[in-house]
């Protein structure tokens, strides 16, 4: 599904990614862990297409196509979804309008008929119930005045509505209490299927108790320093990221 080869990227004059290699197949859940500043969020944003980062070397193949050549919206239309660490507030655009516009944009891209309003509302109601979201959140402006937890749920709601093929969750656990964490994790787990892949970017092992990964990678100084199975996450939890110093030495 996703193949990252020797990916280098920088922001302004700082090189952040320094040769990432990663392969994610359909049906897999990968966790990317690492200390602050290791490049985890940069990797997520480079995949989503944020223009602040410049890719200087390497390539990314997504479903066999050159991902880096695709526009931001084209990536989304082809099933890539990133759940933001800091979801953006958009005053004046209602959450409902936004979600419907997003769904219909994907449908237009694939030359499918637009969604019927009643069907849309029914689907929305069902997904919101699963995520324990208040009804009035749909009438409110996108993320405006939402608490940290509400914003994260709103990200997962968008994911549940858009049904992506590859979901990248950027620090989705940060700022969540344990109940919210469980609800968010349930939302992610319902998406798990043999046709989909999920990349969970996180600083802590905590989320991985609920979203159990097939593979765990540790990012340090813009490279993958170690890869392993879920036991690697537990090891990190016990010993911290201190071992990285010996690695890079």
């Amino acid at each position: 599904m996703l193949e990252i080869k020797n990916l280098h990227a920088r922001s302004d004059d700082t090189e952040i990614l320094r040769g990432i290699n990663l392969q994610v197949s359909a049906g897999e859940v990968h966790a990317i862990m690492g200390p602050n500043g290791s490049g985890k969020s940069t990797l997520a944003h480079v995949l989503a297409g944020r223009e602040d980062y410049e890719v200087t070397e390497g390539e990314v193949l997504y479903q066999g196509k050159d991902l880096l050549e695709m526009e931001i919206e084209e990536r989304a239309a082809n099933g890539l979804f990133m759940a933001y660490q800091y979801p953006v507030e958009i005053p004046g655009v209602s959450n409902k309008y936004f979600l419907k516009a997003a769904m219909n944009s994907l449908r237009k891209y694939h030359k499918q008929p637009l969604i019927d309003t009643m069907d849309f509302l029914a689907l929305l109601k069902e997904k919101m119930k699963l995520l324990g979201m208040e009804k009035n959140m749909m009438e409110r402006s996108v993320n405006e005045g939402f608490s940290g937890g509400e914003k994260k749920r709103n990200e997962i709601l968008q994911m549940a509505m858009l049904q992506p093929k590859l979901a990248v969750l950027d620090e989705t656990d940060s700022g969540l209490d344990i109940d919210a964490l469980r609800i968010v994790a349930d939302g992610v787990n319902t998406l798990r299927s043999p046709e989909r892949a999920i990349i969970v970017v996180t600083h802590y092992q905590r989320l991985l108790d609920y979203i159990v990964p097939d593979k765990v990678h540790v990012l340090a100084e813009g490279r993958i320093a170690r890869s392993g199975d879920k036991s690697l996450a537990l090891e990190l939890e016990a010993n911290g990221y201190a071992f990285l110093e010996t690695c890079s030495a």
């Binding site: 919206e73 953006v88 516009a101 997003a102």
Partner: protein, 440 residues
């Protein structure tokens, strides 16, 4: 230089005077002469005038604009414009063509007893004394050349008068159309009086026929009695080659409420001055505005609020969306006079520039002579939020659509503050048509 520029208007005024010599009473003739003399003294403002520093109107006024006569009217063109301007068949509607009432397009439903909604020309004929008092009282010509010019050519406009304690439920829609085949000017003059505890809703729309250049120089004088309530809207949708200059003056008495919603879309150059005199206690004054110049349009929005008495609130929000090589000017003055303790005044002007060549000059001016007041003002100028654009696009929404959504969102609070549904829907449809925002 200035003398030659005003010459056109002198000649035009002589013609106008001749034309009207048999029908006009002495006081009106004198009022017009005073207007003309004042206009000649002041001259057409140049950019050396502080109030006109960013708005170079003089070159545009070199065209020989003539006071339009009724001979060139084309019925089908007017039908079309009226249709375009009409908001709701339930509204009372006065249609003015080239500044004069056009009865065949006007519709008045049953009005509460004592309420007057008619043409100023008609009022002058029927009630010369009361109109004389009102117009001469308004005619302290101050320093505005355009106010003086309007007075020089005063002839018609709307006269709206609501007696004490009466509410006019249906909005009163005043539609001003310019329909000509040669460069022409109209000087509509509207007077509005709301008695104590009365209430009304007024909408002014300005439109024209595409093609010929024209100049609208409108004046609206509003008097609000104690606890009167006026919801006022102005939709400036002139043609791209029009010059639109307008002055609205409001005098408010104790406990009155004035809400102004100004929307500026059209014109080559559009300048709107809105002056509110808060002459009693416990007054509320809300001024909202949205201006959206594109191409080479220039839109100049000026407001002035005079807090003369204690315990009054004013709230002002103006938003500008500027594209291409458009220019915007916002000047918001708030004077808090010495007696106006416990004043609460908020002012905000926010503008977004959609292109590198668009320019906004924004100038909030607060002058405060009382010591126990709360006054805040803020001005922001920026571009569309890149983070928000990225967020929308990363959900599959194409860049153009995302941009449109953000523009609409920016304008939304000003649009939503309009309480009359038909007006709000009309504005939404203009915004949608202009920017092509689909119904998601």
């Amino acid at each position: 230089m200035i003398a030659t520029e005003t010459d056109t208007y002198q000649i035009e005024h002589a013609r106008f005077r001749e034309e009207q010599s048999s029908i006009v009473s002495t006081w009106l003739r004198e009022l017009r002469e005073r207007g003309l003399n004042r206009f000649t003294e002041l001259g057409i403002p140049t950019t050396r005038d502080e109030e006109w520093r960013f708005t170079n109107i003089a070159p545009l006024l070199k065209k020989p604009f003539k006071v339009a006569d009724g001979a060139t009217l084309v019925g089908s063109q007017i039908d079309e414009l009226v249709q375009q301007a009409a908001l709701d068949d339930d509204f009372h509607r006065l249609v003015f063509v080239n500044g004069r009432l056009a009865e065949q397009w006007s519709v008045l439903h049953e009005l509460p007893p004592g309420v007057v909604v008619e043409s100023l020309a008609e009022s002058i004929r029927q009630n010369p004394d009361s109109i004389e008092r009102r117009l001469t009282a308004d005619a302290e010509l101050e320093h505005s050349a355009f106010l003086a010019l309007n007075t020089a050519f005063i002839e018609d406009g709307a006269n709206i008068s609501v007696p004490d304690g009466v509410a006019v439920d249906r909005p009163i829609h005043l539609i001003f159309l310019s329909v000509n085949d040669e460069p022409s000017v109209s000087h509509p003059h509207n007077i509005v009086s709301l008695g104590k505890n009365s209430r009304a809703t007024i909408v002014e729309s300005y439109l024209g026929v595409e093609g010929t250049a024209y100049f609208t120089n409108a004046v609206t004088e509003i008097e609000l009695g104690d606890s009167a309530d006026l919801d006022h809207h102005k939709l400036q949708q002139e043609q791209p080659n029009a010059l639109h200059v307008a002055t609205t003056r409001v005098r408010q008495q104790s406990g009155s409420k004035f809400r102004s919603h100004y929307f500026s879309f059209g014109g080559d150059l559009a300048r709107n001055e809105l002056n509110c005199q808060l002459d009693g206690e416990g007054i509320e004054c809300m001024l909202n505005g949205l201006y959206m110049p594109t191409g080479d349009q220039l839109m100049d929005c000026r407001t002035r609020i005079d807090h003369a008495q204690p315990h009054c609130n004013s709230f002002e929000l103006y938003k500008g969306i500027l594209d291409d090589r458009a220019k915007g000017v916002f000047n918001g003055k708030i004077y808090v006079h010495q007696d106006a303790q416990k004043t609460d005044a908020k002012q905000s002007n926010q503008a977004i520039l959609l292109s590198d060549d668009a320019v906004i000059d924004t100038k909030p001016q607060l002058e405060i002579y009382a010591d126990d007041v709360r006054c805040t003002h803020g001005a922001t100028v920026g571009a569309l939020d890149e983070q928000a654009l990225y967020y929308l696009r990363s959900r599959g929404i194409p860049a153009d659509f995302a941009r449109t959504m953000l523009i609409f969102a920016f304008a939304n609070d000003v649009v939503q503050s309009v309480e009359v549904p038909a007006v709000r829907r009309h504005l939404e449809s203009i915004l949608l048509a202009e920017r092509g925002l689909p119904d998601a």
